[in-house]
């Protein structure tokens, strides 16, 4: 039961909480503000907060220079493709482990998680060469596959923890009612697990969108997503603050908004149900 708190106390708490929150959020806010400044005012000293000449010029410049939408589209394809593919092969696997657990299920889950700990850089050279030989370098297909493999353990873990909460008796009831395995998964398990599957999709789209090792190393131009787009602004172009800010805003806005919607599920999702 929440206890009654004096207004004064609550005001004080609110002040500190908002202060901390705004400090943490400030770099993002500042970037968005700067993206609307003329280049000259972006480096004004002392800095200008809102009293500058608001402009969209930076966005136009960035798009003209670097064809933002090509990168954006690659990011969309990689994030959705890898997550969709991962969920597609993750659902049957999670079903198996959640509803037909064996003696080695736990070990298997731990092993899957441990593949996430494999330093990607350790296998960069062979993957690079294999991709070169298979003609997958700088292709969206290649990146979809790699990013899917990166996130598959997390996808399976998340689905597994959500599935575990569905009582096995309901699936047994479906079996007694004459449902085949396919129908059991399609008509009973999946609809019941929709919230879990949705948050798995959401979180992994975010992780895939922000992936910045394989995308930076395996993409050049054709398949390059936004991580590559933004890395192009590392010096000296980065000194054009307003343009850099516009580009940054364009790179993060879609996923930031998606993230706000997912933050409720984020905790239990990314801690695999260990913290709810």
């Amino acid at each position: 039961m929440a206890r009654a708190v004096s207004i004064r106390r609550k005001s004080l708490n609110t002040f500190w909480a908002w202060l901390v929150a705004l400090i943490l959020f400030f770099p993002i806010l500042w970037t968005v503000l700067t993206s609307f400044k003329p280049e000259a005012q972006a480096v004004a000293s002392p800095p200008l907060f809102v009293d500058f000449d608001w402009t969209l010029q930076n966005y136009r410049d960035v798009q003209a220079q670097r064809a933002y939408f090509g990168y954006f589209w690659n990011s969309v394809v990689i994030a959705l493709g890898s997550t969709g593919l991962g969920v597609l092969i993750g659902i049957p696997a999670a079903w198996s482990m959640a509803f037909v657990p064996g003696r080695h299920t736990r070990d298997l889950l731990m092993w899957m998680l441990s593949t996430k700990m494999m330093p990607a850089v350790g296998v960069l050279v062979p993957i690079y060469l294999i991709f070169r030989d298979l003609g997958l370098l700088d292709t969206r297909t290649g990146l979809v596959v790699v990013v899917m493999l990166m996130n598959l353990p997390i996808i399976i873990w998340m689905l597994y923890t959500y599935f575990k909460e569905i009582p096995g008796e309901i699936l047994e009831a479906a079996r007694m009612d004459g449902a085949t395995l396919g129908k059991e998964i399609l008509y009973v398990l999946t609809p019941m697990a929709v919230p879990g599957i949705a948050s798995t999709l959401l979180l992994n789209i975010i992780l895939a969108w922000n992936e910045a090792f394989w995308t930076l190393n395996l993409a050049v131009v054709k398949a390059a997503p936004l991580s590559k787009f933004i890395s192009g602004f590392s010096s000296p172009e980065g000194l054009f603050y307003a343009k850099l800010s516009a580009a940054s805003t364009m790179a993060i806005a879609p996923i930031l908004i998606l993230g706000w919607f997912s933050q409720k599920q984020l905790v239990r999702g990314l801690t695999f149900g260990a913290v709810k």
Binding site: V20, S227, I252, T271
Partner: protein, 290 residues
């Protein structure tokens, strides 16, 4: 609920995931181990041959190796300490009754969703830049000389950036754990005469221990692979001041074109990561309800 047929179906449905992960793990690793025993420079493919462990000795003997291990440790441990300590404090703050908690949560979690290279570029240029950055402006305002963060304290600066990105994650998890705590426990402790500090130390902190171990596990998985932040800010420099093991191998491979040595470094990284992984799995694994 298992019959022979359902177990068979389970094996069948599990196999695609297991096979792709196994291939993803084993094939590149086997190739890496193989390369690591060869003389293999991407620019001089004609010079080949089996050289046993010379790549390893070269990699380990280079002065950059030891410093890269130390740098990796500093980065990972630094970020863990900052995020866990500040995370607890912020979570305690937000957990109290405040106005607009929903918006505060959204503001706090936002940095987590920022793509690493974007975060790094924002910090590098707009905050840490010694001439135009906001920190320099602040220093000017206070009458202090501006400080070249990435030039003089590259590793600490990168640690700060990465901590900024992961602090929201730790905070949110700890906040969720705090909210699952029964207020009766706190009230009972109050009845037993525990003051605020005692309550935190004896009741709240133990309650958070599971969440803390999970934060450490998950963050370590991601922190060992920190890459883009270094790439777009310092490129590992000045010198090797901010070169982590990950970045050292990357430089060896894609900048030095020395596939053999890079592969040796990769194998070492894999071994070290596995040591950390085993340690973490033992320490933390039982906290995940598999």
């Amino acid at each position: 609920m298992s019959t022979r047929s359902s177990r068979k179906a389970a094996r069948l449905m599990l196999s695609p995931s297991v096979i792709v992960l196994l291939v993803w793990m084993i094939v590149p690793l086997a190739v890496t181990v193989w390369y690591s025993l060869l003389r293999y420079n991407l620019l001089r493919p004609e010079r080949t041959g089996f050289i046993w462990f010379r790549n390893y000795t070269n990699f380990v003997a280079s002065p950059a190796f030891l410093s890269s291990i130390v740098n990796t440790l500093i980065l990972v441990v630094g970020v863990l300490v900052i995020t866990v300590v500040l995370g607890i404090l912020i979570a305690l703050l937000i957990d109290r009754p405040i106005w607009g908690q929903g918006i505060v949560r959204i503001l706090v979690i936002s940095p987590f969703f920022i793509m690493p290279p974007v975060a790094a570029l924002i910090w590098k240029n707009m905050f840490m830049n010694p001439t135009n950055g906001l920190f320099a402006e602040a220093a000017k305002f206070l009458g202090l000389p501006p400080f070249d963060f990435l030039g003089h304290a590259p590793l600490a600066s990168i640690t700060l950036m990465v901590a900024w990105q992961w602090l929201p994650f730790a905070t949110l998890i700890l906040l969720t754990a705090l909210q699952s705590m029964s207020s009766e426990q706190i009230e009972a402790a109050e009845m037993d005469g525990a003051n605020a500090l005692n309550r935190f130390w004896f009741i709240v902190l133990p309650h958070l221990s599971r969440a803390i171990t999970v934060v450490i596990l998950i963050q370590t998985i991601f922190l060992l692979g920190v890459f883009a932040e270094i790439l777009v800010t310092t490129n590992g420099g000045p010198g090797t001041a901010s070169t982590t093991l990950t970045f050292l191998i990357y430089k060896e491979a894609l900048l030095g074109f020395n596939a053999g040595t890079a592969a040796a470094g990769g194998v070492i990284a894999v071994i070290l990561a596995n040591i950390v992984a085993i340690f973490l799995m033992i320490a933390v694994g039982r906290n995940l309800d598999a």
